[in-house]
Amino acid sequence: MIATPPSGRRVVLVVGATLAALVVAMVCGLVIGPTSIATMRVIGDVFSHLGLGHSTLTPTQSEIIWQLRAPRMVLGLLAGAMLAVAGGTYQGVFRNPLADPYLLGVAAGAGLGATIAIVDVGGAVVTPSWTPILAFVGALLAVAVTWAIGGRGLRSSTATLILAGVAVASLFTSAQTFLQQQSSTTSLARVYIWLLGSLASASWSSVTLVLPYVVVCVVICVAAGRALDVMSVGEDESRSLGLPVRRVRLIVIVASSLGTAAIVSAVGLIGFVGIIVPHIVRLLVGTSYRRILPISVAFGAAFLVFADTIARTVLAPSELPLGVVTAIVGAPVFVIILSLRRPMAP
């Protein structure tokens, strides 16, 4: 469908629209909720915090905005940005359109870690408050095992790494299934809710916990855009063009996996953002990762905050799991894109 690479004007247009969507998403994240507070008053309150004008909110309303909705919105931005850029980066480094941030076992590892923390096998409970830590450790452990198996050999290829990821993910998933099968129904339900992902437990402390990881990892991934463009000609050719392929691959995989692990530990497994957002962006601005990655950061952030707004309002006061909303919105979009575009060269 794209006969010539998109023009500069088109890219500017897409960037502008994405940034506008991001601002709208942020406002929605603050304004929409069970307690209705007028949009202009919320915006006025935001400006008053910047030293412009006076707030007209009651202390309770201010509490709702700043202690409930704001951290949730910010965590949504961070999660969406990180998952989208990690997915785009994985697609570039593996030259595989189906790659997502969970490709090397992050999801399976985090799932096992969270399961260990939550389930009560034989009456023994680690304690649910350990869930983020064990999920984080599990995610990184799974990626490390994948790398140890498939990423180190002299002639190791990305194909070996993907296969190692498949093997490690199945191993961790089966361990997780075994533990779940041994546990009680109540703890099983809690694991299940965690696996589907949610921003419901967001707080400023969870935001500050993941913020440094996300900032550093997003910067590294975006900076890798030019290297990923070179990699689009394959490993041998990019080496002959002067690209230290193995080093770039290691740096990029570490950054994507670390950032994803931090996000997963805070919000659970949110699917589809990492795979569809980079594809939508690619359809709009072409195949250069120098464009895809930075735009995916903003697009992913906006997408997830919108999805979360839907997740917490459709069935209010109860919530839909965020992973369900991203898939319900994401799957049809993904199908439409696939039917519109030419097959991606491997």
């Binding site: 794209i2 006969a3 010539t4 690479p5 002299l154 900076a223 890798a224 030019r226 290297a227 463009d229 070179v230 689009s232 000609v233 394959g234 041998d236 050719e237 080496r239 002959s240 063009l241 002067g242 690209l243 230290p244 392929v245 770039v248 072409g286 195949t287 250069s288 030419r342 991606m344 060269a345």
Partner: protein, 252 residues
């Protein structure tokens, strides 16, 4: 290179091959399928490691160089180049400048000038904004050659650069290359299957068979040699057409 051997697992792909190519000359490696031609040029380009022996460029070992240092000295035209999806011809040729501007900086004015020059020299300027996937086979091969020339190296290694091209485009690519050798002092190491074209365009031919160097000499001598016919297992006749050697297989 001296005493070069390359192994893959227990198989020896090339064994104890020594040859040297003078700067500013064209050397073509010929031989039947499986002779080790591709292995040899990949090793010279630093894409494979040798189990024995070294490849040196003006005294410097290729395997001791990092990717960037190598890319500034040797450009490679692979047998089956990967054509990326959705990239413009200009951006593709610009990849040849990666080693100059690095991975975090945009191409400099000098890089852009070099790419513009190469596009013009290879009559690709009108295609600059086109998607690489829309080019014909001949245009595509010219574009891959342009990327290698944009590397502005003194040595170029080409593996079957004219595979799949019609006769006119084969000659066009080889003449472009010959021009670079004569005008700019480029050193070329290539592999070719077509013995007639190999003989016409190279200063020197190197005959490989089963990973061993069989013969190394001026083109005219190698195409007439008994060894050449033996390696291919068939009778060959060489006809002089206006001073050019034409190699013809004789069928019985």
């Amino acid at each position: 290179m001296l005493g070069l051997s390359v192994r893959a697992g227990s198989a020896t792909l090339i064994s104890d091959v020594s040859l040297s190519v003078d700067a500013g000359t064209w050397c073509t490696v010929i031989g039947p399928n499986g002779a080790g031609k591709t292995t040899l040029v990949e090793t010279v380009a630093g894409l494979r490691r040798s189990s024995h022996g070294t490849v040196t460029l003006s005294g410097e070992s290729v395997s001791a160089m990092n990717e960037r240092q190598r890319a500034l000295r040797v450009a490679v035209v692979p047998q089956h180049p990967t054509i990326p999806f959705g990239m413009s011809v200009h951006d593709y040729v610009s990849l040849g400048r990666t080693a100059y501007h690095g991975l975090l900086r945009a191409p400099s004015a000098a890089d852009r000038r070099c790419v513009g020059d190469v596009l013009e020299r290879l009559s690709l300027t009108e295609f600059a904004a086109r998607d690489v996937a829309t080019l014909s086979g001949g245009e595509r091969q010219r574009m891959v050659l342009a990327r290698a020339l944009a590397q502005a190296t003194t040595v170029m290694v080409l593996d079957e650069p004219i595979t799949g091209l019609d006769l006119r485009h084969q000659i066009a690519i080889l003449e472009l290359l010959q021009n670079e050798v004569r005008e700019c002092g480029l050193t070329v190491l290539a592999t070719l299957h077509d013995l007639t074209l190999a003989g016409q365009f190279a200063d020197r031919l190197v005959l490989l068979d089963q990973g061993r160097l069989v013969l190394d000499g001026p083109s005219g001598e190698v195409v007439r040699s008994r060894e050449l016919a033996e390696c291919y297992g068939m009778e060959l006749r060489v006809i002089d057409v206006d001073g050019a050697d034409v190699v013809i297989p004789v069928r019985h």
